[in-house]
Amino acid sequence: MTPSASVILWGVLLYVSAGLIIALAFVAVGAPRLIGHGAADQGPAPMTLGARLLLIPGAVLFWPLVLRRWLGEPL
């Protein structure tokens, strides 16, 4: 493998690994709390297990955004 290929592959691997850890925590506890019913005063939105599983790929891809929102900052 060329050096640049292994640098890219390692980079992707690191990003995805970090993403997986954050995504799992996110769908387990954070996801319902980070989005209201559409109105801020209504508390967490109920989510089924299926919906949580479907959110994992998006959270792996966008984990920096997920983390930001979780830490209470705007997008």
């Binding site: 989510m47 919906a51 959110l55």
Partner: protein, 346 residues
Amino acid sequence: MSAGFQAVQWNGAKIRYDAILLGLVAFYLAGFILIAASLHPPTSAAGWIDLRIKAFGSCAFLMLSTVLAIGPLARLNPRLLPLLYNRRHLGVATFFIALAHAGFMVEWYLLESDIANLAGELTSWADYANFPAGFPFKALGLIALLTMLVMAATSHDYWLGFLTPPLWKAIHMGIYVGYGAAALHIALGAMQSNRHPAVPILLFALFGTVSLLHILAARKSAALDIGDDDSDGWLVVGAASDIPDGRARIVAPVGGERIAVFRDGRILSAVSNLCAHQNGPIGEGHVVDGCITCPWHGYEYRVEDGCAPPPFTEKLATYRLRLRGNLLEVQTAPLPPGTNASLTLP
């Protein structure tokens, strides 16, 4: 809608849509492989994989072209709106077909040679100067696949709420980058190596049709935008009786958001033409049981005040209406979302 999240919000229409979609995909793939294999029977395991790469690759491009054609088609002819209704599932299915196409190619490398060659091929930077033959066209396919991955991974309604509709929409506009990359992937790959005339014909016919439909739909929207003089803050909609019962007339203030003026029997009301869900063209929908129903995903809002019925909480901006003789006029400045500004005809 937003009272909680499920994996997929199924209903009869969506199940039918998906069943037809799956049937067509299976028919295409089986037909492609059967016909191609009877014309030129593959002589090796690699030959069979090659056939699957071609079947799934062309299927993915056909599906992606269809996904992109549906929007303008529905704008040009409202009878095609049912196609739009479940376009999201078509998009996600397209991603999986493209993923299988790329997966077969990995299988081919595993069979033929060292998989490390593949990574090496994509990072032989000097090759990117080769044009048109010899360009690493697989990298273009990878770009297309990654953009489709982003779309599919964020297709759940949750992400629409999380990312906010403007950002979500901006991300999903990336599909045009993906489509361009897929077209180049074919032009620099299959079109260079595979001398079969079907490849350029398929490519140009589909890419040309999608482009033409977008141009036609944009011209139709532009024609709508030539509003009447609204310098006094009021815009003429037309005779109230000219609005078909249960439907809307869409008007466009100069430089402002479009307004959909609905009539439900004797009740008239004006709401923003952008659905609070995905900015769908709500004015192309109709009134069902006193609720304006968005043609895209069936989000509902009461005619009188633009509020979604409980337990839902979405609201549309409304606009003040007035009658001058027989002529209906709408004020171009929006009211706060959910304000009741409806007008009842005598």
